[in-house]
């Protein structure tokens, strides 16, 4: 069978721990997530921004990457798009059920926990396959702006900023460096968008077109909106991000992204 010998069969099911305490199928699921196109989230003091690289080439029209869950929440995922879409539809349903019962928009952390519980059940039963994608939720609720990451293993984390998907390491390096110089309690949504765009540009091949970047953001007190980077009002932010990205790359002494990618069919 085609699999790494060192796992001695422990990677064949989610109901078996390996002797060193890992559920290896879940780690494979995480790998599937990292093969999808990149998704980025940044939380500002007065809002949240989500970004993603849309799948497109000469034959594929640009596909959706950011999904609205409710008026005040959006999401972006990396990995198997079929798995991700299921999570999006589940999240949308849960958000509406919450509205029905409590007459109030759903808490984002609570929604994240709900999705995490669903994903977790798929790591505990024989015959089930973990979700091959990770999901980032961003929105503003009664407690303020929230950025939540849900892992294929069913763990939920609150983020300041972060990335998943192909080349996320480089994006996260940039976010870490930039956030060091920023006062988080004063970070404006506009700066957060530029920061996210720069991280996405850095993690993408050089011929990235603005139309390939989809971003969704919400400002406190307003609704979640989805846009692409080639739009009039986003273009200046995109240009600003581009210069910031190249400045950082020069300072960090890193070459710009090499061509060619490992992203695969069916991955978003």
């Amino acid at each position: 069978m085609f699999r790494p010998e060192q796992f001695a069969g422990y990677d064949r099911s989610t109901i078996l721990f390996s002797p060193d305490g890992r559920i290896i199928q879940v780690e494979y699921a995480r790998k599937a997530m990292q093969r999808g196109t990149i998704s980025i989230g940044v939380a500002a003091s007065n809002g949240v921004v989500l970004l993603g690289k849309r799948k497109m080439d000469d034959l594929i029209l640009p596909n959706k990457k950011i999904f609205q869950i409710d008026e005040h929440v959006g999401s972006v995922f990396s990995g198997y798009s079929a798995d991700g879409r299921y999570l999006v539809s589940y999240a949308r349903e849960r958000a509406q059920v919450y509205r029905f019962i409590y007459n109030e928009p759903v808490d984002i952390e609570y929604l994240g926990q709900d999705i995490a519980s669903l994903m977790h059940t798929y790591t505990q039963f024989g015959g089930a396959r973990p979700f091959g994608c990770g999901l980032i939720l961003g929105g503003v609720d009664l407690l303020g702006p929230k950025l939540i990451y849900v892992d294929p293993g069913g763990a939920m984390m609150r983020w300041v900023a972060g990335a998943i998907g192909y080349n996320k390491e480089r994006a996260e390096r940039y976010l870490r460096d930039t956030l060091k110089e920023v006062d988080l309690s004063k970070l404006d949504i506009r700066d957060a968008i530029v920061m996210g765009l720069a991280a996405l540009i850095l993690a993408s091949p050089q011929d990235l077109k603005p139309v390939e970047i989809e971003l969704g953001f919400i400002k406190s007190g307003e609704k979640f909106v989805i846009k692409t980077a080639d739009l009039e009002d986003i273009k200046p932010l995109y240009e600003e991000a581009k210069t910031k990205a190249s400045e950082w790359a020069k300072k960090a002494g890193e070459e710009s992204m090499e061509e060619g990618s490992e992203e695969e069919e069916g991955m978003v």
């Binding site: 029905f100 019962i101 409590y102 007459n103 109030e104 808490d107 952390e109 609570y110 926990q113 009664l142 407690l143």
Partner: protein, 220 residues
């Protein structure tokens, strides 16, 4: 069935809720009646759900007590999961869903509620009937004595009541109901909810207020 629910809910009791500038006053009598028989002279009709949200019940006592337990249950769980206390509006909506589900499928809960509380959007009072409809208001009353109480509330309420004025208005409304409604009586429970949480008044404190009221009435 709708009417039988209303009849049951109106067979005894008077409860009153009044909103003032920075809080809510809730008052209820203590008589539980079964026809002309007084089943209890110390019935508990004011039930805290969180430290800032309080229910009053009227109607079928068993239904009300069970429903209060359900709601306490839901609210405790949801507060832990969301890591924030619920809004008054959320608790009202939840209660409405529970009431209406039972109205549509089984027998309705034969209860009327006043939900009073304070949250980040200020003080609120809601009235819920046995079928689940929600009405928000500045002052509300339930039970068989509510027509009497409403008479006092209607004439006495104004926009800028302070805490003391709101308390005496609620007590005056309840006292009128005690005097003119046979199924209302046996003392008063009084609760004030402010930012720091709810507080049940001691009998002595209530007596103080009632003494003042007597003066008002005799002088008037």
């Amino acid at each position: 069935m709708i009417n039988s629910g209303r009849d049951h809910a109106l067979k005894g009791t008077t409860t009153v809720g009044v909103v003032f500038k920075d809080g809510v006053v809730i008052a209820a009598d203590k008589r539980a009646s079964a026809g002309t028989f007084i089943a209890s002279k110390m019935a508990k009709k004011v039930h805290p759900i969180t430290d800032k949200i309080v229910f009053t019940i009227s109607g079928l006592v068993a239904d009300a007590q069970v429903l209060i337990k359900w709601i306490q249950n839901y609210v405790r769980r949801i507060s832990l999961e969301r890591e924030r206390p619920p809004l008054v509006k959320e608790v009202a909506s939840l209660t409405s869903v529970l009431l209406h589900n039972n109205f549509r499928s089984l027998l309705p809960f034969m209860v009327h509620f006043i939900i009073g509380g304070i949250d980040q959007f200020g003080p609120h009072i809601y009235f819920l009937d046995h079928v689940g409809s929600i009405h928000e208001g500045k002052y509300m009353s339930t039970g068989s004595g509510s027509p009497v109480a409403y008479g006092v509330l209607e004439s006495g309420y104004h926009q800028d009541l302070d805490e003391k004025a709101a308390i005496s208005l609620a007590l005056r409304a309840l006292r009128s109901a005690i005097k003119r409604d046979a199924a209302t009586g046996d003392g008063i429970d009084l609760v004030v909810i402010k930012d720091e949480g709810y507080r049940f008044f001691k009998p002595k404190e209530i007596e103080e207020y009632l003494k003042d009221l007597d003066k008002v009435i005799s002088e008037g």
